[in-house]
């Protein structure tokens, strides 16, 4: 073989799960100092492959080579010893412990046989953080006091501290704001310059094109092909990923807004720590239009939505639905008035992961006919509806009775969408409807939303993805520190202005004329 051996090589990896061939003869190599992106839809087998590499899952066939030598990885400690580090999508940090505690956990610096030497550990961590360009990290801060972006850096720091030369990041940007993503990429480039290899798992085409040296696309457990960013574009990658041509832009068509459905006036609400995070919101959504709320996560969007749907009692203000005052009504009464809601956190609020698909599909309607009469559930009606929704919304599942937790993220979201869109609704609230989903699922959900709008449903969209808000909305409002600081129509909205409003709450002096007051 010519040239140096790749830092990491996987040959013919195959993994069969009951009913699913998760990895089918996958081969992949990562050179030293290379950022190699692994692109694929939800459920394509990316995570399985990386779990095999990290020793969390054993392959049925195939071999792994590190620096050209065959390696046996039976458990994560083997992987760590070989210099492979992993940053999971859901962080593996202990919130109540300090940064230093988390980083050294399992590899503590000792003073003698019993005593910890945390001072030395903290010094080492500070030096390392400096090298990686992580500024402003105090090793004695508790993890729970850090932002999501900072926590992710701690995960990276933890891996490097353990001597990782190959870093696997599973969808690292799914939880980050655009600014944090940009900063994360700076970190990647620095790591690459120092010779660290990075495997970057993603389904976001633009990010992959921006940061990767090479892109390998996986579909249904197989490698479809590899590309260099210069040789390809988003359309080709999307097609490789999904297996058919995908429309990356939304064909929104014309909207025909009618009477006002939702009317919110002077709404105030507190968050769980009793801080006022919604501070006087006025908004109106009309039948047959989509109002999108753009904003950096944590500016009161979630609390605003919860106050509207009856999961949080507003401290002031009114919510009116088609002329009826629904302020402070319980969640069930709000639903009965015609409000459906796709929550931001699908696993925490939207689904009962342990329960079968059938029950999840009637989670918000089980108490009504035909699904029950009196207190007796009508199993036949529930199953018929479930079968219909699974077919209509193309939910990929071996059966309707498996637990919702066994589905991929995209299919879990389709499950919620099927349930909420299927109802007889007047107002549909979509909170981060496509977070963490692949292009195919995003396209599907966007189309469904447009169809719902054209049926005359009023839609309130909240999303941290600015592109999503801009593409889907007939009107765009920007939320900043608990207030809607500006509202635009789809025609007059400009990306830069909205970005600036999201970040600062103020439009740049030149763009100020374009911004109306609060809606």
């Amino acid at each position: 073989m010519s040239g140096p051996a790749p830092a990491l090589e996987m040959r013919g990896i195959t993994k069969q799960y009951p009913g699913v061939l998760a990895n089918d003869d996958i081969s992949l190599d990562v050179k030293q100092g290379e950022i190699h992106a692994l692109l694929g839809e939800n459920g394509a087998g990316k995570t399985t492959l990386m779990n095999i590499l990290y020793g969390l899952v054993q392959p049925d066939a195939g071999e792994i080579l590190v620096d050209g030598r065959a390696a046996t990885i039976r458990q994560p400690s083997d992987a760590i010893a070989l210099g492979i580090g992993m940053v999971h999508q859901h962080f593996m940090l202990i919130p109540v412990l300090s940064v230093a505690d988390n980083v050294v956990l399992g590899q503590e610096t000792m003073r003698g046989p019993v005593l910890l030497d945390m001072d030395a550990a903290r010094r080492r961590i500070s030096v390392l953080a400096e090298q990686l360009g992580f500024t402003g990290i105090d090793p004695s801060t508790r993890i729970e006091q850090l932002s999501v972006g900072q926590q992710q850096r701690i995960e990276i720091l933890k891996a490097i501290y353990r001597g990782a030369r190959v870093l696997i990041l599973d969808e690292p940007t799914a939880v980050l704001t655009p600014q944090e993503t940009t900063e994360m990429f700076t970190v990647f480039r620095r790591l690459r310059a120092e010779g660290t290899s990075i495997v970057f798992i993603s389904h976001k085409l633009d990010e992959v094109l921006e940061i990767a040296d090479r892109i390998t696309v996986i579909r249904r457990g197989r490698v479809v092909g590899s590309r260099r960013p210069a040789e390809t574009d988003q359309n080709e990658l999307a097609e490789m990923m999904v297996g058919r041509e995908v429309s990356l832009t939304v064909d929104r068509g014309e909207s025909h807004p009618a009477e006002a459905v939702l009317d919110v006036k002077g709404l105030h609400a507190l968050d769980d720590r009793r801080h006022e995070v919604v501070r006087g919101v006025d908004l109106e959504v009309r039948a047959g239009e989509i109002l999108g709320i753009a904003g950096v996560a944590g500016n009161g969007q979630d609390e605003l939505v919860e106050a509207i749907v009856g999961l949080r009692r507003p401290s002031a203000g009114t919510v009116t639905l088609a002329g009826h005052d629904i302020t402070g009504l319980a969640a069930r009464r709000t639903r009965e008035a015609g409000v459906a809601y796709v929550p931001a956190d699908r696993q925490r609020y939207g689904l009962v992961l342990r329960a079968p698909l059938t029950e999840n599909l009637v989670l918000t309607s089980y108490h009504r006919e035909p699904y029950s009469r009196g207190i007796v559930l009508n199993e036949a009606a529930i199953q018929a509806t479930a079968a219909r929704l699974i077919a209509d919304f193309d939910i990929r599942t071996p059966s309707a009775t498996v637990g919702a937790g066994t589905l991929s993220g995209g299919n879990q979201q389709k499950l919620i969408v099927a349930r909420e869109f299927g109802e007889d609704v007047r107002l549909l609230i979509l909170d981060q409807p496509t977070r963490g989903l692949d292009v195919g699922s995003v396209e599907f959900i966007h189309k469904q939303a447009i169809a719902k709008r054209d049926e005359g449903v009023a839609i309130l969209l909240v999303s941290a993805e600015l592109d999503e808000v801009l593409e889907l909305s007939d009107r765009v409002a920007v939320m900043y520190r608990g207030q809607l600081v500006a509202t635009f129509t789809a025609e007059e909205v400009r990306r830069e202005t909205v970005g600036l409003l999201m970040a600062t709450g103020q439009a740049a002096p030149l763009a100020a004329d374009a911004a109306e007051g609060v809606a």
Binding site: R332, P343, R348, G350, V352, L353, S372, L377
Partner: protein, 387 residues
């Protein structure tokens, strides 16, 4: 799908659920056999490898009888097993229902005592009333008392987040001591030589069969399909299961966890009170301080062994009832003490909870994490209440 295609799938599915409990029982019996051998060696100085076989054989005969006795129409052994199983069925259902709703009701012991006490007091007062009045009224009084006693930790959990394990353990002590006082100083029968309530007379559950196959056994058996139906076929059951599996999603769906948590705990206490009532009106006959509430704790093992499935709980309760009913014969014939049953029971719990042991010994695939019920037992205590 045809029935023929379904059949193997069902068996596989059944084994998937039953493997862990069945293997836990098997392993517990093997380990207990070693304990029997060693304990015997320590007292007699000889090693008798066959002793466990004799002991288990006598245990079996003690709990089910033998063909010779059956031919003579003597089914006392098997009836005793039914009698011992009935309160365990109800207690197991009480714990299992709680687990489904995400609650660990350790208070079954206390609710059992309160139910038994109330049934005894009401029964003693109605001892001379017609049986068709005395018996159902006493029974319902005991049931209501158990439910009411569980309502307290239920509402505390729902309203304030007070952890039900802590409150029910405390309420168990409150029940024991309060009832001891009551039976000594308030409702005791002065004509008796020790503090106890008067005879229940006509309030006793009628014996239907054999020496003591009482109506309570039928009630316990009927409770199994009723609880299964409630949990799986009603909106209330849907709400209980949803709240237990994900209280946040329940709230999102418009279910009020405060109501459901209180209701689940109350229903659990209702079953525990029923267990106490049938034991009182079918077996004991009077309340005296110090009657055994071990049913409350055995029920936890039963519920875990039955994997919170009502039918599974019924089988687990019968196993334990058989152990309890058969143990005396084992002790008489082989001098292996009754306490070995407690050891077996403890070992079963150990192997169920530390299921890694079972999976390693029997090379089961670790496809699924252990008992989901254990999540309720070990759930983070700081979680508090879903508002």
């Amino acid at each position: 799908m045809t029935a023929r295609q379904q059949a193997p799938g069902r068996l596989v599915a059944l084994w998937r659920v039953a493997a862990l409990p069945v293997l836990a029982i098997l392993l517990a019996l093997i380990v207990a056999a070693m304990v029997i051998i060693v304990a015997d060696w320590a007292t007699t100085g000889t090693v008798n490898l066959l002793l466990p076989v004799y002991a288990y054989a006598n245990l079996l005969t003690g709990s089910f009888g033998d063909p010779g006795l059956w031919a003579k129409g003597n089914f006392n052994a098997i009836v005793n097993t039914f009698v011992a199983s009935a309160p365990l069925v109800l207690g197991g259902l009480a714990i299992g229902l709680g687990f489904k709703g995400g609650l660990f009701n350790i208070g079954v012991a206390g609710q059992f005592l309160v139910g038994a006490f109330t049934a005894a007091v009401v029964g003693a007062n109605l001892a001379t009333a017609p049986m068709l009045v005395a018996m159902p009224v006493s029974l319902l009084a005991g049931v209501a008392a158990g439910a009411l006693y569980a309502f307290i930790p239920g509402i505390l959990k729902a309203r304030t987040g007070a952890h039900e394990v802590v409150t029910t353990i405390m309420l168990n002590n409150v029940a024991t001591l309060l009832l001891a006082w009551a039976v000594t100083d308030v409702v005791g029968d002065p004509t008796q030589s020790f503090p106890r309530t008067a005879d229940i007379g006509n309030a006793a559950l009628p014996v239907l069969f054999g020496r003591n196959f009482h109506l309570g056994i039928v009630i316990a058996l009927l409770a199994v399909p009723i609880v299964a139906w409630l949990l799986n076929r009603t909106t209330t059951g849907f709400e209980i299961r949803t709240t237990g599996a994900n209280p946040n999603a329940a709230r999102y769906a418009g279910i009020r966890p405060v109501v459901i948590i209180t209701l689940t705990m109350t229903l659990s206490g209702l079953l525990a009170g029923l267990a106490g009532s049938i034991q009182m009106l079918g077996v004991i006959g009077f309340y005296a301080s110090g009657i055994s509430a071990s049913v409350g704790f055995d029920s936890i093992t039963v519920a875990l062994l039955g994997r919170t499935n009502p039918v599974g709980i019924m089988f687990a309760a019968f196993l334990f009832g058989a152990f309890r009913a058969g143990a005396p014969l084992m002790q008489i014939n082989t001098s292996v003490p009754i306490e070995i049953i407690d050891i077996i029971q403890a070992l079963i719990i150990l192997f169920l909870t530390a299921d890694v042991i079972i999976r390693t010994v029997f090379r089961l695939r670790a496809a699924k994490p252990g008992l989901e019920e254990m999540a309720t037992v070990t759930r983070t205590w700081g979680e508090g209440v879903a508002r």
